[in-house]
Symmetry: C2
């Protein structure tokens, strides 16, 4: 692949944690030449699969359409339960500019993908994020209000028409939210308490729209097999709201209820700058640019020669 | 440059902090095609310049020889004072394998460079680290015993013959230590006290050979213009001895004397894994591989296609 071609990341979220369905979806991405599967995570308690892949425009479009088609064929939302809010089998498909691509490219790309998916499967598509066609829809929480169970009612309301596809839910796949956004960080912190109410209070305290940290979304979930709870978060702008702010605020709030932090995990991929900012903070290092990292510096040097 | 060529990093340390001399040395590296200057730092209190550059074998050899030649021409060790131990104008020249190169390559390379420098300038060369020709010389502190001022006497002792060049110091440039090593981390922590004795005690506490952390070298220095002291450290194996161990141990020891940490800095480049380990520790993340970083994952994906 040429170093000048546009590289786009796609991070589709599917409403399943069934291993066979997961593999069938992943295979649709793996079989596309020039698309590269980077990461995937799925959990029973969210009953959700988050996949990340990159490629040029053609291969990303093909991999996104094929994997969505497989998910729509295999997932029946009427039987789906899970702790993460969702609107459909292919719940959300964001596109992120990685290299030589602009946000405008990804917005255009999201519209093309959304239109294609709607036509192929007669499924309603809502555009969100930078691709939103109305201001409220920039916020995915607004789009997802009422979830799959409330979708039929929600779609009847004025101002809730989909951007593409029919004005009623797909019978088994609900609706799909498609958009463009910047890189964001998925960061889940586990609390050593099975008390979901405690986790909910902690989540509320850090949630951006509830007085917490800017552009942070936080939700509480039970992890039954571990007898603990989890604060599942996404950080919209990790430069403005560094990860150590998020962790330290969760820690402070959880301490009020005597709940320790017993581990954390990233959901999906992590931007390098987010890790650099964490290392800088805790090591008390004042200056540390990406170019000071050996591997990055050597890579850039190689590309110049 | 082909992605299959050997990439070697060279991190020469020169005994100067004179801006004109610094620039003259750097220019010798900049003018070599296919060598890339990655980083340099110099400080008056160490009176030392640490440079980092990468390239393929030919360009690194040329840049190392030319910059050393310039330093030998411009630096007079008889007038040199500085808080960092040193043996000569070109104090130490380590080579580090970065890509497609092995440690054996770098050992051979160090010997070729040492022989070339000795022949060109009639300067004694001591091999150290992985390139050492005797076990004691694996430890750079052993080679540097007595420093420049004691070099003449030291060289008369049995078992102290140089590996290449004459058996007496160069009149203005002393001797040069040349070797091969793995990537290591230079990490300096500033203490909010001007008391050098306190800094020395903290340095001793973390120094590997004095009961501190494995493969960590630590020295105390005064930073007169800031009215503070610095613990200058190198961490030989940052995977075995992570940076957060180093920082937290310095913090604990300094606290005994009421001295706060007032900042830190990296000297030279930092390996990505060292930063990942710091982020993992403080964020309490259990798993985080290099491949989960977007930029690295995307780069690898691109190289495969």
């Amino acid at each position: 692949m040429s170093y000048l071609r546009k590289v786009i990341e796609c991070i589709p979220n599917f409403s399943t944690s069934d291993r066979k369905v997961v593999e069938a979806i992943l295979d649709e991405i793996r079989r596309i030449q020039d698309a590269r599967l980077l990461d995937y995570t799925f959990d029973g308690y969210y009953n959700r699969l988050v996949v990340s892949f990159v490629g040029d425009e053609d291969s990303v479009l093909q991999a996104a359409l094929n994997s969505a088609t497989k998910a729509i064929a295999l997932i029946d939302m009427n039987k789906h339960k899970g702790q993460h809010p969702r609107l459909g089998a292919v719940d959300v498909v964001p596109f992120v500019p990685i290299r030589n691509a602009t946000m405008e490219d990804c917005v255009e790309f999201a519209r093309a993908f959304g239109r294609g998916l709607a036509e192929a499967h007669h499924i309603p598509i809502y555009l969100y994020g930078e691709a939103a066609s109305r201001p409220e829809a920039e916020d995915i929480d607004w789009v997802r209000q009422g979830e799959y169970e409330g979708l039929h009612e929600m779609m009847k309301r004025p101002g809730r028409e989909p951007d593409f596809g029919p004005n009623e839910p797909h019978q088994t796949a609900g609706a799909t939210i498609v958009g463009a956004r910047r890189i964001m960080v998925g960061f889940n912190v586990n609390l050593g308490t099975p008390n979901l109410e405690v986790a909910r209070r902690v989540a509320r305290a850090v949630h951006g729209k509830k007085g917490g940290l800017t552009d942070v979304r936080a939700m509480a979930a039970m992890i039954p097999e571990k007898d603990m709870t989890q604060i599942g978060m996404s950080i919209g702008d990790f430069k403005k709201t560094p990860l150590y702010h998020v962790l330290e605020l969760v820690k402070i709030e959880a301490e009020r209820y005597g709940a320790p932090i017993v581990g954390a995990e990233f959901c999906g991929l992590v931007p390098l700058q987010a890790l650099i900012d964490v290392a800088k903070h805790y090591l008390e290092v004042e200056e540390l640019e990406e170019d000071r990292i050996i591997e990055i510096a050597a890579q850039k040097a190689l590309e110049q020669t």
